[in-house]
């Protein structure tokens, strides 16, 4: 692994900067801006106060109003830079505003009220992270619960998916039985059917079983993904046939071949499927929205949706909770990045 500094100093011909270097770095810079810019913007905005968010033109950094405790006033007063009628500048705390007239006091001498036209003052602000955006929804909107629901759905669904898909893939690639090709075609055919088409029948089934408003209703219907079955089957087909035959000669049962030979060797493909499954489940929206109607069973994505009302959207909370929803998936990418690249290259999946 190259250190980031060494990576940034790479040149096509070591020692001098050529035309292709310039082009490459411009291209990369544009790429970084396009990919990373919105994420940075999102994270910074999630720390802005509501008024800061509503400002136009928007500020890049989250800025918070400075305030000070003044004797004789119960709450803290906001600080302003004020241009006095004589042209001098002072820092004053605003008591109230009536129309275009702002009433201010000097924090050092709070007895006298100074009246100034409001366009003569500018807010004194500092770089401030408004943690309130995170704290409030997590405390009062049950977002901790949504987060836990999402984690539960993702982890359990991924485990179930891995187990079921790998067993199906084993049957379709290694196990010998009559009608193998028929089942393979059936599986591939269902690859083409999107969830939106079968949404209603699946919902009816889930409802009849009595799973509605349970997290299992989210987990179970999507557990056997044709994509995963196909991905694992193709990978298992590349395993040397003689290895399986050697295990058969070694008196291994089909279960032992599956568990002790095929699964350990299919780890790269399983890693890819894990990553995809985590991504699918974490970002899943339509199906959970259909089956989950009680707030305590919401996943994060559904919870986020609740901030968007018909009349108003609580952008500050929405942005903050979007960041919360992003963090786990970002961590998965950071730690499994090696498997993602090599696994995708190996399995031909994009």
């Amino acid at each position: 692994m190259m250190s980031p500094l060494a990576l940034l100093r790479q040149r096509r011909n070591p020692g001098r900067i050529g035309f292709s270097d310039v082009l490459a770095y411009i291209y990369l810079a544009v790429g970084v801006f396009l990919m990373f810019g919105p994420v940075v913007w999102l994270v910074l905005s999630s720390f802005k106060t509501r008024s800061n968010l509503d400002e136009f033109p928007p500020t890049f950094l989250p800025l918070a109003q400075q305030s000070v405790a003044v004797k004789g006033y119960d709450s803290k007063l906001p600080l302003y830079n004020v241009t006095m009628p004589d042209g001098s500048k002072r820092v004053l705390a605003q008591v109230r505003r009536i129309g275009v007239i702002s009433q201010l006091v000097d924090p050092a001498a709070p007895q006298t009220i100074i009246k100034v036209n409001m366009d003569k003052r500018t807010a004194l602000r500092h770089l401030g992270l408004d943690w309130h955006n995170y704290e409030h929804p997590l405390r009062h909107f049950n977002f901790g619960r949504y987060l836990w629901n999402s984690v539960f759905v993702t982890v359990v669904a991924t485990l179930v998916t891995l187990l079921i898909n790998s067993m199906a893939a084993y049957a379709l690639s290694i196990h010998e039985f009559r009608g193998k090709n028929f089942f393979l075609v059936a599986v591939i055919a269902t690859l083409m059917v999107p969830i939106t088409i079968i949404l209603v029948p699946v919902f009816v089934v889930v409802n009849e079983i009595g799973l509605d408003n349970s997290l299992w209703a989210v987990i179970l219907p999507g557990a056997a993904t044709p994509t995963g079955v196909f991905l694992l089957r193709q990978y298992m087909l590349t395993m040397p046939r003689e290895l399986i035959e050697a295990a058969r000669m070694d008196k291994a049962s089909e279960w032992q071949i599956y568990a002790r030979i095929v699964m350990p060797l299919a780890l790269p493909a399983l890693a890819v499927l894990t990553i995809f499954s985590v991504m699918w489940r974490w970002n899943e929206f339509l199906w959970p929205l259909v089956v989950l109607s009680k707030s305590e069973t919401y996943t994060l994505q559904i919870g986020l949706n609740a901030f968007q009302g018909d009349l108003q959207t609580q952008w500050n909370y929405l942005l903050a909770m979007t960041v919360v929803a992003l963090i786990p998936i970002a961590l998965v990418f950071v730690f499994l990045q090696r498997f993602i690249t090599s696994g995708i290259a190996n399995t031909g999946m994009k």
Binding site: E242, E245, R248, M249, A252, P264, L265
Partner: protein, 353 residues
């Protein structure tokens, strides 16, 4: 250890027939080599015996018991694959112990067997390594070790030496022969290399296009090949084949030369036949001889010399002589054929005796 009988085994994939009417009896403790050119069905036959492929027709008996319909795991045979097929995610010890664990042997027994097999095959220093960290020869020994610990009824080898380099192949060949002498198991060994077949086998089975051409001890095949194919397949360099015409009774005509051969008695005058003679059974004859050869290549190996030449009728001849030779390219030399080693094959390829 066990004896094996095959009764008219046939194997077809759809409409393609790969094996036809194979019948063979392998005695307990015998080392039988299946040999033939690639595509002759020898590996398929081995896999049918192993139970990895099912026979389309015929019967397989192990110690008199019909096992034709039994799955591979239930036949109690062990196989060494061409690619060795070691489990790459297990250590050498786990590889060897895998079958024993599947047989649910007690732990102490497993440890004892792994220990004795690894001692026998000099694998002790590598027991904790993964197969990926072993050389070709070591992997080969692990594959054999995996077969030995099971104490199988029959050992099956599918071209086990073909992935080794020439030197190691010779060494491993000797070890295999020694192993057979020591444990005395019934072994069936597939190869396309006739040298391996000659050196290892008690009996050789020569296959061509899914049929058995001849079964016999190595020297029987060498001395009395029953047809032209076996004669050409066994022996290195291969036997020379010279087209001849039967003259009068007991005489054959090669170009202008004519000489008497006992085997030619069965031929009528004018019949076409093929004369077979091994390179080591041709003597250079400075004066006269049976035939005259124009030399076009000489290989001097020090201890022996191979002379390649062309006869008057255009057929190519290889000769082997002891020691070193002064013959040069372009020389015309006389050769004489050792009469007792001349083979004669009829127009249908079968040997005439």
């Amino acid at each position: 250890m066990a004896a094996l009988e095959l009764h008219s085994i046939a194997k077809a994939y759809g409409r393609v027939s790969v094996l036809h009417d194979i019948s063979l009896a392998v005695a307990d403790g015998e080392f039988v080599v299946l040999v033939g050119p690639s595509g002759c069905g020898k590996s398929t036959l081995l896999r049918v015996i192993a139970g990895l492929e099912s026979a389309s027709d015929g019967q397989i008996r192990l110690d008199g018991q019909d096992v034709t319909r039994l799955a591979a795991a239930e036949r109690g045979l062990a196989m060494v694959f061409q690619s060795y097929a070691l489990y790459p995610h297990m250590s050498v010890r786990q590889n060897i112990a895998f079958a024993l664990e599947n047989m649910r042997l007690p732990k102490a027994e497993i440890a004892r067997r792994v220990q004795s097999a690894s001692e026998m095959l000099r694998l002790e220093p590598y027991l904790e390594r993964r197969p990926g960290a072993l050389s070709g020869g070591q992997r080969q020994r692990v594959a054999i070790g995996r077969a030995i610990v099971r104490d199988p009824k029959i050992f099956l080898f599918d071209e086990p030496l073909s992935n080794l380099d020439a030197e190691l192949r010779v060494a491993t060949r000797k070890e295999l022969a020694a192993l057979h002498a020591r444990i005395g198991g019934t072994m069936i060994y597939v190869t396309h290399d006739q040298v391996e077949a000659m050196t290892l086998a008690n009996r050789i089975v020569v296959l061509r296009a899914g049929r058995i051409e001849q079964i016999g001890t190595p020297l029987e095949l060498y001395n009395q090949p029953c047809n032209e194919f076996v004669a050409g397949f066994i022996g290195s360099p291969r036997m020379n084949f010279i087209p001849v015409t039967a003259a009068e009774a007991g005489q054959v005509q090669v170009g202008a030369a004519r000489f008497a051969l006992a085997a030619a008695g069965a031929l009528a005058a004018g019949d076409k036949a093929t004369l077979g003679i091994r390179p080591e059974h041709i003597d250079l004859a400075p004066q006269g001889g049976d035939l005259e050869v124009e030399v076009n290549l000489i290989e001097q190996l020090g201890g022996e010399t191979f002379v390649y030449g062309v006869l008057g009728d255009g057929s190519e001849v290889t000769m082997r002589s002891e020691g070193q030779s002064a013959i040069k390219r372009g020389d015309k030399v006389g050769i004489s054929l050792q009469r007792q080693h001349v083979h004669l094959f009829g127009a249908d390829g079968l040997a005439l005796r």
